[in-house]
């Protein structure tokens, strides 16, 4: 088949042996209400959605719907996270509870934070937790520093995807170090997803143009003025970036202008 004929054909995203047609993964936090959550997630086309694990408040109104009633695990791949964990121990404990909550579901998002101001990952604790979780049968997608050496170490431990930050969680600052991401993409064979830092559609496109396998975001959608519209924009941005990556962009030429119209046959020549 010619390149032209396969133009729109892409392989699915493969994570831990399961295929996904959407390369956009979304969080479920910071929305005004469950209705907005549901509408935004539907507009994003995401198949994998992250959730946090938290204590039930005593006295919580039991008639209130549960998040997993809005986003049923029968329809979405629920990715429980360890947001708010600052040690390997807390993270592992949280994900064991998540596995029980989700009837033995093994795919998880590990994030061990270092610092409340930056929410930067604590890489030593992340590596410790990853080892323990992989040994316990979890399929670990891991939030990490945009450090190629650490990303490779996480792959070697057996993580099923590495998810370097583009910039700080919730900052919307976009991709601050595309060069590191390129080195990670060059060295790691498991899927690489940008997690954290996306601010707007073009950031997601750039991540995909670099060759990332997917993008995970929450705040960029939830805190847009119109989250549902931004979710739709992000869906297209990820698809556009992916297609541009597959298409292979033209080389950048600083100093070689090249007209698109023929030089020959101009009138009066």
């Amino acid at each position: 088949m010619s390149d032209k004929a396969v133009a729109a054909k892409d392989a699915p995203l493969l994570i831990a042996g399961r295929e996904y047609s959407s390369r956009l993964l979304v969080g479920t936090g910071k929305y005004r209400d469950f209705d907005e959550t549901r509408l935004a997630i539907e507009a994003s086309g995401a198949e994998i959605v992250t959730v946090a694990i938290r204590r039930v408040n005593i006295g919580q109104d039991p008639s209130q719907p549960n998040l997993l009633e809005i986003l049923p695990p029968s329809r979405f791949t629920i990715l429980p996270n360890t947001a708010g964990c600052y040690s390997a121990k807390e993270a592992v404990r949280t994900l064991r509870l998540a596995r029980e909550l989700l009837d033995g579901h093994a795919l998880v998002k590990l994030e061990v934070l270092a610092d409340e101001t930056t929410l930067f990952p604590n890489m030593p604790e992340t590596l410790t937790a990853a080892k323990e979780l992989v040994a316990d049968g979890f399929q670990v997608m891991v939030y990490c520093a945009d450090d190629p050496i650490q990303a490779k170490a996480l792959e070697d431990i057996g993580c099923v995807a590495v998810m370097p930050l583009a910039s700080l969680i919730g900052s919307g600052m976009g991709i601050l170090n595309p060069w590191n991401l390129e080195i990670i993409l060059d060295r790691v064979t498991v899927p690489v997803l940008v997690d954290a830092g996306i601010g707007t559609a073009s950031d997601a496109t750039v991540a995909m143009e670099l060759g990332c396998d997917g993008v995970l975001m929450n705040t960029a959608i939830a805190k847009a003025r119109n989250p549902v519209l931004m979710a739709s924009a992000m869906k297209k941005a990820v698809e556009s970036g992916r297609e541009a990556f597959l298409a292979g962009r033209m080389p950048k030429k600083i100093y070689q202008a090249s007209a698109s119209s023929p030089r020959e046959g101009r009138i009066g020549s």
Binding site: I53, L67, L97, L101
Partner: protein
């Protein structure tokens, strides 16, 4: 009465209560939850057979919005 802690808060259950009584108190029956008793997970299959003991500490969690 059995004096226990649930999610860091003091609570009481009648003597002889099973963990399922705690699930009922929190109105979590039929919902997705997970329970840890003194640091060990109580599988859903065991909530109806695991006794609550005085001084037990429980963590009861659900999934909430997060990124």
């Amino acid at each position: 009465m059995l004096n226990i802690k649930v999610n860091g808060q003091p609570a009481t259950l009648p003597p002889g209560a099973l963990v399922v009584a705690l699930v009922a108190t929190m109105q979590l029956e039929g919902k997705r939850y997970a329970i840890e008793r003194n640091g060990e997970i109580v599988p859903k299959s065991a909530v109806g057979s695991t006794p609550v003991e005085d001084g037990d500490q429980y963590e009861v969690v659900i999934a909430v919005g997060g990124g």
